[in-house]
Point group: C2
Chain length 334, copies 2
């Protein structure tokens, strides 16, 4: 690999000048600029990014901490982040935290030890206090999918309450009156918010939330399946169910089918997330879109603007979910 010295020699200038044309910094006359450029071409010169980083104290890479690489959510998020960053010549590095506190901590150390210029993280196990601390000692932080009090302007999240609202509201407008709800773990803010939105929609339509029609589950397929079985077992009439995510909806659908209930004729179903699987279910699942790729892009924009000084679009903190109407919900009996 050619070095900056060889280029400078070939072009008959100093390394400083070569550095200037590489980085577009300082003033260089067009003539010498061309000399340098052709020298670089002749040697197929490629700046050593590691040396650049060491000298400039800039790694030009940003760390992303996700729970898993595979899976619909994180893949889509990473995808959005990488696309934006890459277009700006920045490198995306990532690590997985598996929703386990110790691993999330360790992943942060790992990423930071690689001198990333910023950190975008999607963590669920870490406490707010730790995040605050990290925000004050490490590289600039961006938090996905979670609102940490005191760091609101660094948090990019979905308006989950509104998502829960629109899901239930659609059902209500279809004249359903008794609507069950399969929730995610209420220890998590997003699960709570979605349920609150559900309750608000009911209230606005003059209905009260019936606690017997709400089941707290775990965001997984089997959880949804079991929750639906439990709901049916309770033998309280209802004509529709909203599931706090698509996976649970898939499980619920399975149970309904096993028990011979037809969807949407006997039972309407709405999911949440608009994960890829929602298009493959039968009937195709009506759900609430989670614009995770765009949110990833936004995170990348923030970094590009605030860390690398590039001008960008306006920053948007909260994203609004939108209804995706497919076939799993139909008119109610009401």
């Amino acid at each position: 690999m050619a070095t900056i010295y060889e280029v400078s020699k070939l072009a008959g200038v100093s390394v400083a000048t070569v550095s200037r044309v590489i980085n577009g910094s300082g003033r260089v006359s067009e003539k010498t600029r061309q000399k340098v450029l052709s020298g670089m071409r002749a040697l197929d010169y490629q700046p050593n990014s590691i040396a650049q980083s060491l000298a400039s104290n800039r790694s030009n890479c940003v760390g992303v901490l996700v729970s898993e690489v595979h899976g619909p959510v994180f893949g889509a998020m990473l995808s959005g982040i990488e696309a934006e960053l890459r277009a700006a010549g920045k490198l995306t590095i990532f690590a997985t935290g598996h929703n386990v506190e110790a691993k999330e901590r360790e992943a942060i150390r790992f990423l930071v030890s690689r001198n990333c210029d910023a950190l975008i993280m999607h963590v669920e196990a870490l406490a707010d206090a730790f995040i605050h601390q990290q925000a004050h000692q490490g590289p600039p932080l961006l938090i996905m999918n979670r609102v940490v009090p005191g760091l609101e302007d660094r948090c990019i999240s979905l308006d989950n309450e509104h998502g829960g609202y629109v899901a239930t509201n659609m059902l209500l407008e279809m004249r359903h009156r008794r609507i069950a709800y399969i929730s995610g773990p209420l220890a998590w803010g997003d699960a709570r918010a979605r349920l609150e939105g559900h309750g608000r929609a009911l209230k606005e339509h003059g209905l009260r939330l019936d606690r017997r029609l709400v089941i707290e589950s775990n965001f997984h397929e089997v959880g949804g399946s079991e929750a639906m079985a439990e709901l049916l077992r309770r033998d309280i009439p209802f004509s529709a169910v909203v599931c706090a995510n698509d996976e649970m909806a898939a499980g619920a659908m399975d149970t309904l089918r096993t028990q011979g209930r037809s969807i949407p004729d006997d039972m309407s179903l709405v999911g949440f997330d608009n994960a890829p699987l929602s298009r493959y279910l039968y009937p195709k699942l009506s759900t609430v879109n989670y614009p995770i790729t765009e949110m990833g892009r936004m995170a990348a924009h923030w970094v590009l603007e605030n860390v690398y000084g590039q001008s960008g679009a306006d920053f948007q903190n909260i994203f609004e979910p939108e209804l995706v109407i497919r076939a799993s919900a139909g008119p109610g009996p009401g």
Copy 2:
């Protein structure tokens, strides 16, 4: 951030000694070793990985080139690679090539410019010749999911022919005699191999491949949907279809349902890949498992062993696909 100098000062030794204990290289007396260690702890010292890289000419990171980050295949592959590498303290960096030659080329440049110690790539647009060239000038290369003549020992791939064979064979053993086939683009080796396996299974059962029952499609859902419509339109009897991947099977399923055919009673269906979506289809899709995560792990192992000198398990080039029996295929009329 503390530097190695501060540690050496605090411990009363030279930086060389500190470097030795950091890397476990050279001989250091246990006593001074402890002094250094406690000095490092006291300062919460963290070696600067960039400086390490520059001095040692080792970035301790490996580049991975995929088509997309999201999507079942690449996410799972990345996941396997990252898990292994991370456990060994190595960083995984990635870039996307989108199956476009120019982008794949550029992605390689990008990754290499980051001084990765090895490159694992899943490329479809690049020609064999280019790959050969890259193999001879860049960092050690590993090629996923493709067999490049002359570089067989660097290619990790699935025995696609055998996969096609087992899929069709299962149907034959269920007494299907007229089996249609929806293929991927025959310009791609894996699509060709799968189709060949299909043909071999037929032949072994004394049947001939009926060209009218084979349609070349594009590995996408709508392609599968259209292909199935075309097959039905031809009005040649058949009782089962094997699709060269799960996405096309999903599309095919859709068409069958639209046309009022029941699965598996009127028509049996088998997919390929065992992508997540195959579990969500109704009926659940019988398919051929593609152990992509394990293949990613294997790639990482190779790198750990051949680039970083760690000893590992035996290297396996070709992976055998296995049948995943679910509900979309039933007994034939034969």
